[in-house]
Structure formats: structure tokens, C-alpha cells
């Protein structure tokens, strides 16, 4: 992860006019994005839960 991040930070900035939309749609794969784990700090994604049905809650504690 560190090596990947270093490579990314060193890469030239290419401006993109519109950020691509991220969609959560029935019948489509859930977006594959990397997030940090609140518990461990390690990077992970929803793909880590494949192999069993997953009920994913998107929320905030407020």
C-alpha cells in the first residue's frame, strides 16, 4: 500500500473535468472502492466480504 501511495503521489496531476459518478444499483456490482478500516486502519473494500451474502449499512453515528 505504501509503495502504491508513493507512486500515486509522485504521478503528475491530470485534471478531469467531472468526477465519475459512483452508483449503487440493484443488479450491478457494488462499487469497488478502498476504504480504511475504523478498527484496524488497514485498507479494505467490500470485496473482502464476498463468498457470503452481505448486509451493508451506510450510516453515521449522529
Amino acid at each position: 500500500m505504501l509503495a502504491l501511495t508513493t507512486l500515486l503521489l509522485a504521478a503528475p496531476l491530470t485534471l478531469q473535468q467531472a468526477p465519475p459518478p459512483v452508483k449503487i444499483e440493484i443488479g450491478q456490482p457494488f462499487p469497488v472502492l478502498a476504504f480504511s478500516s475504523a478498527q484496524s486502519g488497514a485498507m479494505s473494500s467490500v470485496a473482502a466480504f464476498r463468498g457470503k451474502p452481505l448486509l451493508l449499512h451506510i450510516y453515521a453515528s449522529w
Binding site: P19, V22, Q28, P29, P31, L55, L56, S61
Partner: protein
């Protein structure tokens, strides 16, 4: 969320399904504390940047074993039925992450990567450049605000907090239906604009956790002020008070305490805001607070037609004789609805006891302050 845990945790416990969460807030430790309080144990991923681009929470997404979305906001019995009809495949998930593409990643992805790596200056520069290049896009502005707020929490520069709120406001102007972005401002904004108190549950959670004999999750950033204040329907009347130095006779501070202020406006354009004042002892002068004399006070010289929930604010000092911490004061402010767009000023002053050098003299000093209230032009 505790209801979902209670209703379906047996299916997690017997290996039939996973439950997990993705947070849409700035401070993940607060949700960990909430989970500890409610004795919930599912894995939590952090999406403080709102990279999923969801506009509201909560959302509940049922995903099959291959990673395909099956239902959005299903009922618990429908989840149970689906799990019963679609057992685990035996294929284990992979923790591999493929989000960032080194060769073709966009500028936004690069800035996100910098933020996630903790390279906040790089992230802020990247988001700022993107915001300049995409005047109609809210996303880089929102993420710029997230990174600025995080840098403020790490380094304490009040200008970063102010810039964060401006960036969030600019994002929300571009998509007023984005309630994740709106909540990020309201978290620090006036009570009249609050849908709920945000983090008022933290104290109760800690008490309950302590009563169970557990050590509560430590918070990286303690919620305070606006973050724990209750919503209000009207501005509370300020208690009667007298200006403690009406003629300005107290000697002025000569560089011991640095004061900054900023106003978080109502997100719906109503004429009120919450004012955040920050006081930092100047390290170069080894300035520190004298806590054995009068407490820090702040007086507002409200212009005609303006109102506040407080005229005279007071900061309770810590128990030590001296201390060097950053201090904050917050108050609600309401200005005349007819005020024209532009910058308006609220005069105020602070009185405090400050000491110079480790064994230096302690002085009672006054510092005048002008709070700037910006009324934006209506966006076309």
C-alpha cells in the same frame, strides 16, 4: 443500527452472512464508541470523503455472495429469506484493494490517495486545484473541506477550519440535495439549523460503558460546543449582563494571545450563525493562562437589531494554576434579515489573565475582536 444487529446477528454468528458498515462521518472513533456502547461488532469502513457519493444516510444494501447489489433498504425478514435461499458459496473474499490506478488515476483519485495516506497538504493542494478547474463540481470542494478540517484538528490553525466550512458551503451550493455535505456544516453550525444534536450521546455512552467495567474507546477529537448542542426553534434570550469594561480601561494584550473567529452560517440561508472563537497562547513568548484569577470572559457589543444567546461568555478554567491550552468559545448569533450581502462586523472584546515566560509576570489584559459575518450573494 442496533436493531439490525439484534435482528440478524444470529445469521452472522452461524456463518450464513456478513454485516458491515461504511461510515459517512469525519471522526470514525466516535462510531467505534457508539458500537462499543451498543455492543455491536461488525467491521466498519470509513468513507469520510463521501467517495460513495451517497446523499443520505442510513442506507442498507443487501449484496449477494458475488458482490452484486440485490436490494436497497430491504426489511429484515427479506434479508433473512434471501440468506436462507442463497447460502454462502464457500469462496472467500479478498481484501485486495483496486481503487486507485497508478497509471490512469484521475486527479481526484490522486487527491483521495493523498488524503488516505495522511498527506494532507498534498490532498488539499490537489482538491484545491480541481475545485479551481471545475467551477460547477461540488465533490472536490466537499473533499477539500474534509481535508482542511482534518488538518485543523491535527495542527490547530483556525484558518483551516474557516476554509473547510467555506469549501463545504461551496459544495452544498452546487448540490443542495446532498445531505451528507449539509450535515458536515450543520455539525458545527447554529442550533436553529440543526436536525439533531449529533454527538450528545457521547457522555451517556461513556457512563454506560464504564458501568460495565470497560474502558471506553478514546476519541481523537472530542465533540464539543455545536457538536453536542441541541436543536432549537428560536434563539434563546441572552441573560442580562453588564459590559465588564465598558470604557475600555483595561490594558490591551500585546501579543500574548492570538485570537481568531469564524462564523458557520445557517445552511438554509436564514439570518443566523454560530460563532467559533479560538484563543491560542503565543508559544514564542511562552505565554500561558493564569487560572487562579478571574476566568476568561468575552463581551459582545451587539449592533442594533442583532441578537445572541449570550452577551457575556465565560470559559471555565482547568484545575491547574497555569495552563497553555487552546481555548474556544462559541455562541449563537442572529442578524437582521434585511442585512445586505457582503461582510458585516460584530465588535467584541476578551478579558483574560495571561502570564509571560515560565516565571514571568501575570497580567490582566483585554483584546478587542471583530467578528466578521459574511452574507453571501444568492447563487444563480
Amino acid at each position: 443500527m442496533p436493531g439490525w444487529h439484534e435482528n440478524l446477528n444470529d445469521l452472522v454468528a452461524d456463518g450464513s452472512m456478513h454485516m458491515a458498515g461504511i461510515l459517512q462521518e469525519q471522526h470514525p472513533q466516535r462510531t467505534l464508541l457508539f458500537h462499543q456502547w451498543k455492543q455491536m461488532d461488525w467491521p466498519l469502513l470509513v468513507d469520510g470523503l463521501n467517495r460513495l457519493q451517497v446523499k443520505v444516510v442510513p442506507l442498507h444494501i443487501l449484496i449477494d455472495a458475488q458482490g452484486v447489489v440485490v436490494a436497497v433498504n430491504p426489511r429484515a425478514d427479506a434479508v433473512r429469506k434471501f440468506v436462507g435461499e442463497n447460502p454462502a458459496t464457500g469462496v472467500r473474499g479478498s481484501a485486495k484493494t483496486v481503487s486507485f490506478k497508478a497509471a490512469t488515476g484521475s486527479a481526484l483519485e490522486r487527491a483521495d490517495a493523498a488524503y488516505l495516506a495522511g498527506e494532507l497538504n498534498q490532498a488539499i493542494a490537489g482538491y484545491g486545484k480541481l475545485a479551481d478547474a471545475t467551477p460547477e463540481q461540488g465533490i472536490p470542494r466537499f473533499r477539500l473541506g474534509v481535508a482542511l478540517r482534518r488538518r485543523f484538528e491535527q495542527q490547530g490553525a483556525a484558518a483551516d477550519f474557516s476554509a473547510a466550512v467555506q469549501a463545504w458551503k461551496a459544495a452544498l451550493d452546487r448540490d443542495p440535495n446532498q445531505y451528507i455535505w449539509r450535515r458536515r456544516i450543520q455539525q458545527f453550525g447554529p442550533r436553529l439549523d440543526k436536525p439533531y444534536p449529533f454527538y450528545d450521546w457521547v457522555d451517556l455512552a461513556r457512563k454506560d460503558i464504564a458501568a460495565r467495567g470497560e474502558q471506553a474507546v478514546k476519541l481523537a477529537v472530542e465533540p464539543r460546543g455545536a457538536e453536542i448542542s441541541r436543536p432549537a426553534r428560536a434563539l434563546e434570550q441572552a441573560p442580562d449582563a453588564l459590559s465588564p469594561d465598558p470604557d475600555g480601561r483595561i490594558l490591551r494584550d500585546e501579543g500574548f494571545i492570538r485570537v481568531s473567529s469564524m462564523v458557520v452560517n445557517d445552511t438554509q440561508g436564514r439570518p443566523n450563525g454560530r460563532v467559533h472563537v479560538q484563543l491560542d497562547p503565543v508559544a514564542a513568548r511562552q505565554a500561558h493562562w493564569n487560572n487562579e484569577a478571574e476566568p476568561l470572559r468575552m463581551w459582545l457589543d451587539l449592533p442594533s437589531g442583532w441578537n445572541s444567546d449570550q452577551l457575556l461568555l465565560e470559559h471555565a478554567p482547568p484545575a491547574h494554576a497555569t495552563s497553555g491550552e487552546t481555548r474556544t468559545l462559541e455562541f449563537e448569533l442572529q442578524w437582521p434579515a434585511a442585512l445586505k450581502p457582503g461582510t458585516h462586523t460584530l465588535p467584541a472584546y476578551l478579558l483574560y489573565n495571561v502570564c509571560e515566560d515560565v516565571d514571568g509576570t501575570c497580567l490582566y489584559r483585554r483584546q478587542d475582536l471583530t467578528v466578521q459575518v459574511v452574507i453571501p450573494e444568492a447563487r444563480e
